[in-house]
Structure formats: C-alpha cells, structure tokens
Point group: C2
C-alpha cells in the first residue's frame, strides 16, 4: 500500500473516537496500569498523543514546507505528558486530543498538498533526511503503534488470569515495544 493522503487522513481522524470508545469511563484498573517503570499506561498514551499534536506532526510539516532541510526539527520529548497531564482526568485528555486532531487535520487539508510536495525534505535531529510523505505516514503508524501498545498493556494485566490459554494469545508474547 503506497501512501495516499485521503487514506491516511481517514485513519488519523478515527483515532480520537476509537480511543474514546475504548477508554472513556473504563475503570482505572485498566487505564492507569502500565508495564513497569518508564512504560506508558493508556492514560499516559493519550497525553503523549496530545503532545504530538501540539509539537510534532503539523509543526514539522510546516518546517519542511517553509524551511526545508536547513532547519532541523526540534527533538521530541517522549515523557512530556508526565508534566502536562498532571492532575487532569482521562476524559479531559480525550476531549483535548479530539479537538487538537480535528484542528490539525483541518490545517493539513488546508495546505492542499500536491503529490510533488510529499517529496519535499526536512532534517530529523537523529534520523537525518526525511520526506514529508514519510512524516505523514509516520503520523498514521504512530497512532497505530499506540493503539497496539494500549491493547498489549491492558492484556498484560490479565496475564496471570488466563491460565493455559496464554499459548493462544499472541498479544501476551508481543515484544514490539516503541522506543
């Protein structure tokens, strides 16, 4: 499957409602559980996605379009949500994520990107040269890696409860953790 803006937007615009359907009013035993020190709970993931909407995807897209490779992106703080979400309810975070995503997708559509624009280049502070197409594809896969992570993190809470069925449940063997 090659990158297509309409397909990618169709997925990006569904993530807030997917997370709301899964997480809103779910007991804290599920949403606040993580996989050990330095790992994310579902609650942490929503804060992390908010931070991405504020500082990463569209910010970096504009850097590529306005300044190209001359201006490297700022580094991304994977743990910003520990400060930024402090004391906030999950409901509140889900609402903010939905609002920011809606605004960012409206801004993305407003750029009226042409195919040639997707080949434009920027500079990632660690990865080096990247294209706008790669950035926008990564935005989509980043949503999916965190849906994948939430499903694994919650599944792991019942690791000791499923008894012999653990052999049939691939999620309990997942080592595909994001760095």
């Amino acid at each position: 499957m090659t990158y297509a803006l309409d397909d990618a937007i169709a997925l990006l615009e569904r993530t807030p409602s997917t997370l709301a359907a899964l997480l809103r009013d779910l007991p804290d035993a599920w949403t606040r559980a993580n996989e050990g020190d330095g790992t994310f709970s579902a609650y942490d993931v929503v804060g992390h996605l908010i931070h991405g909407e504020l500082t990463d995807w569209m910010v970096r897209a504009r850097i590529i379009l306005e300044q190209g490779e001359t201006r490297p992106f700022d580094r991304y703080d994977r743990f910003a949500q520990a400060r930024e979400s402090a004391g906030r309810s999950l409901d509140d975070l889900l609402d903010q994520f939905a609002k920011l995503r809606r605004e960012n997708l409206a801004a993305l559509r407003g750029l009226h990107l042409q195919k040639a624009d997707l080949d434009r280049r920027g500079t990632h502070p660690i990865l080096g040269t990247v294209t706008l197409r790669q950035l926008l594809a990564t935005w989509t896969v980043h949503d999916l890696t965190h849906i994948h992570q939430i499903a694994r993190t919650m599944a792991n809470q019942y690791r000791g409860e499923v008894g012999p069925w653990h052999v049939f449940l691939g999620v309990l063997r997942c080592q595909g953790h994001s760095d």
Copy 2:
C-alpha cells in the same frame, strides 16, 4: 490485576464501539489488507469475533456451569469467518457483532455469578482443565489480542512508507501473532 467480573465486562462491552469507531467507512485499503496467506484482515477479525460470540464464550461458560469437566468444549474453528462472512459488508458485520455481544453480556450478567462459581472447571479439547475465571479472562484478552492484531496489520501496510522512522515504531517489530 486479578480478575473481576465488573472490570472485565466494562472492557468487553466497549469492543464493538471501539471497532466501529476505528473501522466503519474506513477505506478497504486498510480494512481488507492482511499480513499474507492465512492471516486476518480487520474485516476477517470482525467475522472471527462474531463466530466467538455464537460458538465460544458463553456456550463454553454454560457447559462449565451445567456439565463441568465431563463434557469437553467443542473445538473452535479459527477460519469459520471465511464461510460465514462471505459477501457481507463490514458495516453489517460490525452491527451483528455489537448485537451479539450485547446479548451475551446480558446473559452473563443474568447468571449472577458468585466468586465460587468462577472456580468451576471445564475441559478444553487441547488445553485440558480450565476454570470459568480463565475462560472469562480469556474472552477479554482475546478482544485485546485482536485489537492489537488489527493495529499491527494496518501499520504494516505503511511499512515501506515511513522511511527511517521505522526504528521508533514498535508495532512494526511485533511478532506477537495469535495462533
């Protein structure tokens, strides 16, 4: 986290709306894509979950409660959906899954299970002795393993599109496939 019926039901009742939020009207390029021969697309997963509602979870719970270990469960057909979903729209499958899950959770609540009931035993045709608690915990983790699988399967469609970012995206390294 130890098994608690209310927590488990809270998760089980959110799966249909989670899948509807993610998949309804999403382009076929996402929902019909799989990971190669014999693997499931998102469309296949919804059919598989329907088959589970019809033949597995509550059917097996009733066998445990009514016949105990003397009557082994029937084997589960992991590929039944290839026949049963044939020609049906994803919308139709999502609607049926939601209806069956609602009915099964109403039936589960109607059993008014006590803690001691959760220790009652049945016989799995491959795994041997299992408890009702393990069966019900597995129902929950089975939902999560398939949400996890759908996220991975869709992410893999953009494996070639994210460029150097693949190193940060754990979902692209996941080997946690369900048997």
